[in-house]
């Protein structure tokens, strides 16, 4: 039976490091995740099954260090021009087993991009936080706290709303920030996070980008409280909860990039979040392809393997075609984010719009295709033991986060059609 490696990837984009780590992750996934994942849903609160594989991957294999400069114990990927393609491969491999884990994994690095990547490396913050990640074999989790009770999309809608709806405040008091507010939903909360990057305003209601501040907060600071993980339709391996900040104090220099630059480079995390989301969708579909192969070979219709029926073959072909197309788009998106010399800065409205377009197209296609596969599998489609339904539940979130599909549509229309009032 053909395996997942039959699907196209632009080979000219691949890098030895990405491929090597990809292979390591594939083995880890086979041994440490796939055998246990059917019990992850019930483990959403405790992560008794979910944490140990993370310990191995992040802590023991040391992958949590990759972004930090080499002289600080990292692998220096923040300086590379192949970070995104390598990340795409890693995300795909993890999502093949569990896209919730892939998200939790990706978000370990997500806020660190703001301080570890060229051209805005914040050396002092790298020195401050690198030891947390490099000096241990325990897994260390970060989170990027944007969403608030009144809405996540508006906060991510920087181009139009310019941070005016952010209610979490950072007030300067001497040489410290005092942070107050309430965030919800960030990946790796629910008690998991060790380090947060918090999107705050220094002047509530202001539309001046200088007033958007992304401030790092170690989670053991007094005044930080994380609530328990929410119960969700899927993605049990990603804990999400409330975080309350009550007069939380951190040094002024914990601000990621500084006035104006925080707002500017916020676009970068949006682009990368979208790029990663496509990889999650691809990983999930690759695993469903494996399951569908097994199903369509094993099950019989009209005296032949199911796959030999022309109508069924049409559905199978559509599924393979979706993987082909979405995977190519995803790798292209990653390459675009890597090669800023060719495509422009990845925080620009142009790249944000392109990455959003790629992501919502990918998520829509994936959901449609997976929905059809589940239906083709009839009563085995919703059966946990076939794994497809889990992926269907999990991957829905990829379409909803980062401001949801409609904000994506607005950003895409704004850029491609130069709309001015959306």
């Amino acid at each position: 039976m053909r395996g997942i490696d039959v699907f196209s990837r632009p080979l000219e984009y691949l890098t030895p490091l990405g491929e090597q780590v990809g292979e390591i992750i594939r083995e880890w996934v086979e041994n440490e995740v796939i055998p246990y994942r059917r019990r992850f849903d019930e483990d959403y609160l405790e992560h008794r099954l979910i944490l140990p594989p993370f310990k191995k991957l992040l802590g023991e294999y040391g992958i949590q260090r990759i972004l930090f400069p080499e002289d600080l114990g990292g692998w220096g990927l923040g300086h590379s021009d192949y970070l995104c393609v390598a990340a795409f491969r890693m995300f795909e491999e993890i999502a093949r087993a569990d896209s919730g884990m892939a998200v939790a994994f990706g978000v370990v690095f997500w806020p660190l991009v703001l301080i570890c990547c060229e051209p805005h490396v914040n050396r002092r913050l790298c020195e401050e936080f690198a030891p947390m990640f490099t000096g241990t074999t325990e897994p260390v989790f970060s989170c990027l706290a944007m969403t608030e009770p009144q809405g996540g999309s508006d906060i991510e809608n920087v181009e139009v709303l310019k941070g005016s709806t952010i209610r979490t405040t950072a007030v300067q008091d001497g040489d410290e920030w005092v942070i107050n507010g309430h965030k919800l939903w960030p990946t790796n909360t629910g008690g998991v996070a060790d380090l947060m990057a918090v999107v705050c305003t220094t002047n509530p209601g202001s539309r001046n980008p200088d007033d958007i501040a992304i401030i790092f907060v170690p989670c053991d600071r007094p005044g930080v409280t994380q609530g328990p993980a929410y119960e969700k339709a899927g993605m049990a391996a990603d804990k999400n909860g409330d975080i309350w900040f009550e007069n939380v104090r951190v040094p002024l220099w914990y601000r990621a990039c500084g006035p104006g630059d925080d707002a500017k480079y916020y676009g970068e995390v949006v682009s990368l979040g979208n790029m990663g989301s496509i990889a999650f969708a691809v990983g999930v579909m690759l695993n469903i392809y494996e399951k569908l192969q097994e199903y369509a070979n094993r099950k019989v219709y009209r005296g032949l393997p199911l796959k030999e029926n022309d109508a069924v073959a049409g559905v199978l072909a559509d599924f393979a075609t979706t993987i082909e197309a979405v995977r190519i788009i995803g790798y292209q998106c990653a390459r675009m984010c890597d090669r800023q010399d060719l495509y422009g800065p990845r925080w620009s409205p142009e790249i944000v719009a392109r990455a959003r377009a790629h992501r919502y197209f990918a998520a829509d296609r994936a959901l449609e295709a997976i929905g059809k596969v589940m239906n083709l599998m009839e009563c085995f489609g919703p059966d946990r033991d076939w794994d497809v339904e889990k992926h269907w539940r999990d991957i829905k979130m990829v379409q909803l986060w980062l401001g949801g599909k409609q904000l994506s549509q607005m950003e895409v229309a704004r850029w491609f059609f130069e709309c001015e009032t959306l």
Binding site: R38, T147, Q150, G151, G152, S153, D154, N157, V160, L161, S164, T165, L184, W185, Y230, E231, K232, A233, G234, N240, R298, K299, V300, Y301, R302, G303, L304, L306, N309, A311, V312, G314, L367, G371, K372, M374, N375, L376, M377, E378, C379, F380, G381, P382, D383, R384, D385, E389, W392, R393, K396, M397, Q399, L400, W401, G404, K405, Q406, Q409, M410
Partner: protein, 411 residues
């Protein structure tokens, strides 16, 4: 106006008793299920089982068709199709899974106790179980599926899960790893469409859940439908009286399915109405674009909300259209005729596909809230998808449509 009345349906065709039943069910499920959902979630013992009892036994859905002299309500004319639709959309609004279970029960009643084709013998044997008030009767079906043995006897390409052998005065049934349409762990009665040894014509045979030789595997986990605790079955030499074979013909089999599809369509419409109510609350209150404008006033999200309402309206109309066809066999033909059966199959697939799309869209509009169990939306999304899968492959159902519309012979 009651917000469910906003969605058009042929109210003029419903009897007053149907409307009264729907109204009382609406109150009952609101109080007993919807209002307790946040606390009890999808708890089978705490929420779903007691309500199954309320609906089937106390409200009496499981007595509906049976003759009065056997303890039933003898509401067994074809117009009962409207009653089924009106009742199950209310139940489905509270819990799609409960409505799905009730759809099995009502379809079996309809196929045995309809005035025009009343099966006296079978009614006499089975009505007491449904009418004695002792508890809900969970009915499940065992239908052909994609099997794993190329040589196994098949029905329209899919493998029979159970093989029956006629013995003197009884049937002996065998099947391994049999997957029922619901409630393998709990059902009291399995209606199995079986291959008959040495004969072309299959048989629909009722198997009591406690029949010797029938064993149930562990409940397996699935996407949704918490009310249906499903498990695979093994039937090893299960012997049931010859009279448990209710019918052998295609016509009766399709009749059963047409009624089942009506119930399922109505259950799905109920799920859609629930999603509407959740989205309405969201649209009335959520503010986006920081302008103080509520969600429903945004041109993009407003349009999407409109599309969802359109989907719900069309689905409801279709479900009631199916009820209308079943309610009027003089005009449309028997529920088991090719035309009515094909229409039922088209409608159930259309409604379920529409429901999937509408629930996807609703979730998109509610973003994280739609994905969180707390907001209750996601369970309808899971339940409806599960029902869709259990009803079967839409792709292959299209062959049934092609057979009827184009006279395709070999599909």
């Amino acid at each position: 106006m009651n917000d469910l009345e906003l969605f058009p349906y042929p109210k003029n065709r419903l009897q007053k008793t149907d409307l009264d039943l729907a109204a009382s069910l609406q109150d009952l499920v609101q109080k007993e299920i919807v209002d307790k959902r946040l606390e009890l979630k999808e708890d089978y013992r705490g929420l779903l089982e007691p309500n199954l009892n309320k609906l089937l036994v106390e409200v009496g859905l499981q007595r509906m068709f049976w003759p009065e002299k056997l303890g039933g309500e003898e509401h067994n004319g074809p117009e009962a199709a409207y009653t089924v639709a009106a009742a199950l959309e209310q139940v489905g609004r509270a819990d799609t899974g409960l409505a799905y279970l009730a759809a099995h029960n009502l379809a079996l009643q309809a196929s045995l106790a309809m005035r025009e084709n009343l099966n006296q013998e079978a009614c006499g044997r089975f009505a007491p179980l449904f009418c004695d008030g002792r508890g809900p009767v969970i009915v499940s079906f065992v239908l052909p599926v994609f099997g794993e043995d190329e040589k196994a006897p098949a029905w329209r390409g899919k493998s029979f899960q159970v093989r029956a052998r006629a013995a003197s005065g009884s049937w002996v049934l065998n099947g391994k790893g049999v997957r029922p349409t619901c409630s393998g762990a709990d059902a009291h009665l399995f209606g199995a469409w079986c291959a008959v040894e040495g004969e072309e014509q299959p048989a629909f045979i009722l198997v009591p859940g406690d029949a010797p030789g029938l064993s149930r595997g562990p409940e397996f986990k699935k996407t949704g439908l918490a009310a249906s605790r499903n498990a695979d079955l093994d039937l090893s030499g299960v012997e049931v009286p010859a009279e448990n074979c209710l019918f052998r013909g295609d016509l009766e089999y399709r009749r059963l399915l047409s009624w089942f599809y009506l119930g399922v369509s109505a259950a799905a419409v109920g799920g859609l109405l629930a999603a509407y109510q959740i989205l309405k609350e969201w649209g009335d209150n959520r503010v986006i674009k920081g302008t103080g404008n509520v969600f429903k006033e945004n041109p993009l999200t407003g349009a999407l909300m409109g599309e969802i309402a359109q989907d719900i309206s069309m689905s409801r109309l279709l479900a009631y259209d199916l009820a209308g066809m079943l309610a009027d066999p003089t005009t449309f033909g028997d529920a088991g005729s090719d035309m009515v059966y094909t229409a039922a199959l088209m409608i159930v697939h259309h409604v379920l596909a529409t429901a999937e799309r509408a629930l996807h869209r609703t979730m998109e509009l509610m973003a994280s809230a739609g994905y969180a169990k707390e907001w209750q939306l996601e369970r309808y999304w899971r339940d409806l998808k599960t029902v869709q899968c259990y009803v079967g492959s839409h792709e292959l159902a299209k062959h049934d449509f092609a057979r009827w519309f184009y006279g395709a012979r070999t599909l």
